[in-house]
Amino acid sequence: MFRKIFRKPQAVIGLSMMLLVLVCVIFAPMFAPNDPNKIDILHKFAEPSDKYPLGTDDMGRCVLSRLIFGARVSMSIALPTIGILAVISTLLATICAYAGGLVDRIFVIVSNIFMALPPFLVAMTLVGAFESKAFGISISIIAAMWVWNAQVVRTYVLREKSKPYIITCRMSGCTELRIVLKHIIPNIVPHLLVLYSTGFSSVIIMISSYAFLGLGLETGTAEWGAMLVNADKLIYSHPEMLIYPGLCILFAAAGFNLFGEALRDICDPREG
């Protein structure tokens, strides 16, 4: 499996992009040349220089530092979110699909109801309902996305469950719990990695969309989406201010997407 990943160029590129983002997140204070929130009205829209490698924004804040710290804001929300999301949807879907019968029927009906609301709509309605902003974003994304992921996990479990080796396990006296934990879940882990790796990039995009709409985060947070909020006024004078944050989102999300898609090709060689 690991050898296959390292032989696939897309996977290697995706992995290194993911690592680079992670390094940025951990060592942000060392990479950033300036304090991302220091306002310096005298140096508005400064040209790129040694002190400000990408210039300054409309409040005289260093753009490069804000971009680097933006990675921190995004990742610190996105990582726990995808972690909790993965646990909840995998557990629920596995239990319901493995139990089958009435439990599975009810699960399908309930998830059809939840899936009648587009995820972004659910997230937008819920985001204001919590005291802590980052917590609110996290919970609202989980509430919006769990059902879509659970639905996919369910089909994987159903497919795995119908394979003959499961019957063999049962004949040799495996307990149900052991079958689920030791056989079904390890066998669908590669598919889950694909699902949550591409899911991670949509979480990043969702977080930036919140910030862009002014829902959730505090105003003035150094976040990629938030940096675009007042950007429409700069479209003639400083179009580069609009380009940088988007490129950062692209880099972070594309790393996870590339890795996920490469992994999909490895899991299902038929489609590649």
């Binding site: 399908v108 009906i109 309930v110 059809n112 109801i113 939840f114 899936m115 009648a116 609301l117 587009p118 995820p119 972004f120 709509l121 659910v122 937008m124 309605t125 819920l126 204001g128 309902a129 919590f130 005291e131 639905q151 996919v152 369910r154 089909t155 990039s201 995009i205 930036s208 969309s209 862009f212 709409l213 002014g214 829902l215 989406g225 675009l228 950007a231 429409d232 479209i235 003639y236 179009p239 609009l242 380009i243 944050p245 988007g246 989102i249 692209l250 999300a253 594309a254 997407n257 590339l258 898609e261 038929r270 489609e271």
Partner: protein, 314 residues
């Protein structure tokens, strides 16, 4: 077949009912006391009695279920109540804001189809070749950027550098081209991949080999494969239309279009819960209906799809 579609329609009703309950539940989670907020707006510094009075007027002193039944009864008749902000009936504003959103989403659907089918066919035909790899790379890039950023880039390119389009406004059809493109590009990127893999699946299945062995012409085989490969794409297109309307808020804000997305964001920011309820419900109903239409089209293309118990995930 009609019987099965009717069974699905019954399920649809159940889903709709669940949606109204969910919508109402989600907005009721908000910690903001709407009565307090309205009282402050009306009296600046309201006394305890004035707040209670406003609460009774809005019907917020009743239990959750009484409020829900009341709201649902009115909503079914098309009466969503009056906005807490403006005091005017919500339904009028909602209808007015649906129009630009619908034009935008419809045009986005058109562009999505326009990109998905030719590029999907091209990359399936040239599987592993240069065209396939280029489309793959572009697809990854387009899937990894938010639609509002694509909107900004289109504005910089086609409104600032090349003055072909106006920078804002929602009057003529031309004003909707750039927003629709911004919405269509990420959606199309996902659809191309789905269509490509179902085409490849179709061409490698047994019925194609059998048809070739019988000497059926390649044109007819292409038709058969298309019929086999279309249902997943139709499902994706239906879902994409709903996602477009739900995610229109960002693009509408970039292009200053007074659509239902911006209406929802304004209502969310000013804690106008009745308006939020109305917007969410209408968008959800559209989403469910469009998915149902996609399902009916799929049933016509491939009658077997109805017997599969869960048609949401292919």
């Amino acid at each position: 077949m009609t019987k099965r579609i009717l069974a699905r329609a019954a399920m649809l009703l159940l889903v709709m009912f669940g949606v109204t309950l969910l919508t109402f539940f989600y907005t009721s989670l908000s910690p903001v006391d709407a009565a307090q907020a309205l009282a402050v707006r009306r009296y600046t510094r309201p006394t305890e009695e004035q707040v209670t009075e406003v609460r009774a007027e809005l019907g917020l002193d009743k239990t959750f279920f009484e409020q829900y039944v009341n709201w649902l009864g009115n909503a079914v008749r098309g009466d969503f109540g009056n906005s807490y902000n403006t005091g005017k009936p919500i339904i009028n504003e909602l209808i007015a804001s649906m129009k630009p959103t619908f034009i935008m989403a419809g045009m986005a659907l058109f562009f999505t189809v326009l990109f998905s089918i030719p590029f999907g066919v091209l990359s399936a035909c040239r599987k592993g070749g240069f065209a396939d790899k280029t489309i793959y790379l572009f697809g990854i890039i387009c899937m990894s950027v938010p639609n509002y950023w694509i909107g900004f880039m289109l504005l910089i390119l086609f409104a600032v550098n090349l003055p072909w389009f106006a920078i804002m406004g929602a009057e003529s059809m031309k004003d909707f081209v750039l927003p629709a493109l911004a919405l269509a590009i990420p959606t199309a990127a996902g659809n191309i991949r789905v269509f490509r893999s179902s085409l490849i699946d179709g061409y490698s299945s047994d019925f194609v080999m059998y048809a070739r062995a019988r000497g059926v012409s390649e044109m007819k085989i292409a038709g058969m494969v298309c019929r086999f490969a279309l249902p997943p794409l139709v499902t994706m297109l239906g879902q994409g239309f709903g996602f477009t309307i739900a995610g229109s808020a960002m693009v509408e804000s970039v292009f200053s279009i007074p659509g239902v997305g911006s209406m929802l964001v304004t209502a969310l920011n000013s804690r106008d819960t009745v308006t939020v309820n109305a917007c969410v419900l209408v968008i959800a109903v559209i989403f469910v209906l469009v998915n149902f239409i996609a399902e009916v089209i799929n049933a016509a293309l491939d009658p077997r799809s109805l017997t599969r118990r869960n048609s949401y995930v292919s």
